[in-house]
């Protein structure tokens, strides 16, 4: 350490000491929206899977759930009870999209997220999912394998795959 270095090291030590002891030094917490995943892919490819597999009233078609899904003839958002079989309106699809993408965040990577791992069978690396005990009597999880097409769509969307914005939503047609 040169003569010029000594006072510099002293200053560094003082700064470190102040930073170490200062109770006012806190980690910043800026606003951070959920990941910008593709809305078109969700609407056309993933939502039909979720609606079919997860939106029963005893499961996630329930307003009390943290992850709740709106679906035709099931949980609806601001829809007249006589019209519950009408296609989902834009606000409901957007709510499903926001609920799903929020759960892609929070762990190490999209593949490790609760959204992707909870519906996957435990033997395939899935996390514990209460549904297997409560509603399936210890039976299989939503996706029994990583090769399940529904799981592939979920993982693909979570990892950022995009879809043509003009894609067709299979659930948009009026009920016969």
């Amino acid at each position: 350490v040169s003569d010029l270095g000594k006072p510099r090291w002293t200053r560094v030590a003082v700064v470190v000491a102040i930073a170490w002891f200062a109770p006012g030094c806190v980690q910043p917490n800026p606003p951070e929206p959920p990941p910008e995943l593709d809305f078109a892919f969700f609407r056309c490819d993933l939502q039909p899977v979720l609606v079919k597999q997860c939106a029963a009233p005893a499961c996630h078609g329930n307003g009390k759930r943290f992850f709740r899904l709106y679906a035709r003839n099931r949980l609806r958002l601001g829809v007249d009870p006589l019209d519950v079989n009408r296609p989902l309106h834009e606000e409901e699809v957007r709510a499903n999209f926001d609920a799903a993408r929020a759960l892609v965040q929070g762990l190490d990577s999209p593949e490790d997220s609760m959204m992707v791992r909870k519906p996957l069978e435990s033997s395939q690396g899935g996390y514990y999912h209460g549904a297997t005990k409560i509603f399936r009597w210890g039976g299989p999880n939503v996706f029994s394998s990583r090769d399940d097409p529904g799981y592939q769509k979920l993982l693909s969307w979570a990892e950022g795959t995009r879809e043509d914005p003009s894609c067709t939503d299979p659930g948009k047609d009026e009920a016969p």
Partner: protein
């Protein structure tokens, strides 16, 4: 496997202890058992049983081992709000320590291993104390490394790492014949997964619900000052203050009064009162208007104060049958927690009671 390793390590140390000073006096052995019970109005109960044994060769070494089990049953607001029912779990913990006693110093190490269905923890520590100024001053220094594996109940695939590095220094000083002062500083750095894998946090409009997300690192620091003074011939008064702060923005103030008095040759009583106030972590909000990097519903990170009021009765007899000394203690503490900005629970009251038995061999 971990249990057997711990026991093996303790037995491996035993010859060192027993041969460390051949001039030492005969060993002093004591064994203790303890049972305690915790109950609060948030539908949580914890029963604890534990046993420990210590061997000390005066002036040479000390070694000890302990075991305890916590049996927890809870349907607290944390549990209910996560849409799950009451849970029951058991935590088992084994620990061991060994110290070499030198003329003006003591050097020791410790190990602790605990396991429950969603948490596994190993801790290794080292500590040393040095007597100075004809034993009127004592310096202490210590450190520990805690390795935690955070899991989820019934989930073999969820595992996250949390490491804690802990250091502490302290100085104890005899101020006069009847007054003792102690100054302590503790720092710890936690690195890893510190959220709950069970808790979810919603924005106030309920559009977004996230898995709770706390920062991955936390630097904690605390200063403590203790004063103890003898009163009359058979009583003492202790006063403590502790300042805690961390880089999550939490700052806590804790004060405690402790009055101990010998009621007779075999009976003594301790009265204690502890008060604590903390402001919440900077990223804790009762509700979140929009998504933030860190979001939590951990009530222990909210602004709160609490009070513990307790009494402890100690009994000690000498030369009873084959025992040079036996003892028993009973204690009970009422507590009250007031959460100032936690929507799900405004307060928590409860009681902790314990019974301990000791026998020296």
């Amino acid at each position: 496997v971990q249990l057997s390793r711990t026991l093996a390590a303790l037995f491996a140390f035993l010859p060192v202890v027993l041969t460390s000073d051949l001039r030492a006096d005969s060993p002093e052995v004591d064994a203790r058992v303890r049972a305690s019970s915790y109950q609060d109005n948030d539908h949580t109960s914890v029963s604890t049983v534990g046993a420990s044994a210590n061997v000390e060769i005066p002036g040479a070494a000390r070694i000890g081992a302990s075991y305890l089990a916590d049996i927890v049953s809870s349907a607290s607001v944390d549990v209910v709000s996560a849409a799950t029912g009451r849970f029951h779990e058991t935590r088992n913990e084994v620990a061991g320590h060994a110290e070499v006693l030198l003329s003006d110093a003591e050097v020791g190490g410790s190990y602790r291993y605990s396991v429950e269905n969603d948490w596994r923890s190993s801790s290794v520590g080292a500590s040393s104390t040095i007597d100075l100024a004809q034993k009127n001053t004592q310096l202490s220094i210590g450190g520990a490394l805690v390795l935690n594996q955070v899991g989820r109940a019934n989930d073999p695939n969820f595992s996250r790492r949390l490491r804690s590095y802990i250091a502490n220094v302290g100085v104890t000083q005899n101020l006069d014949k009847s007054t003792l002062a102690q100054l302590l500083y503790t720092a710890s750095y936690d690195d890893g997964f510190q959220s709950s894998p069970y808790r979810y946090v919603s924005t106030s409009d309920r559009v977004f619900t996230f898995l709770e997300r706390d920062p991955m690192t936390r630097l904690r620091q605390a200063f403590g000052l203790r004063l103890r003074r003898s009163l009359l011939s058979s009583s003492s008064l202790g006063i403590e203050y502790r300042l805690y702060f961390d880089d999550w923005g939490t700052m806590g103030h804790t004060g405690q009064l402790r009055l101990a008095s010998d009621l007779s040759e075999v009976t003594s009583i301790v009265l204690r009162q502890r008060m604590h106030y903390q402001n919440g972590a900077s990223f804790y909000h009762e509700s979140y208007d929009r998504p933030y990097r860190y979001m939590t519903v951990d009530r222990e990170l909210s602004t709160l104060w609490d009070s513990f009021s307790g009494v402890q009765l100690l009994l000690e007899w000498e030369k009873v049958g084959p025992f040079p000394k036996i003892g028993a203690d009973f204690s009970g503490d009422f507590f009250y927690f007031r959460y100032l900005d936690f929507a799900l629970l405004s307060h928590r009251i409860g009681f902790v009671g314990s019974l301990g038995l000791m026998g020296a061999l």
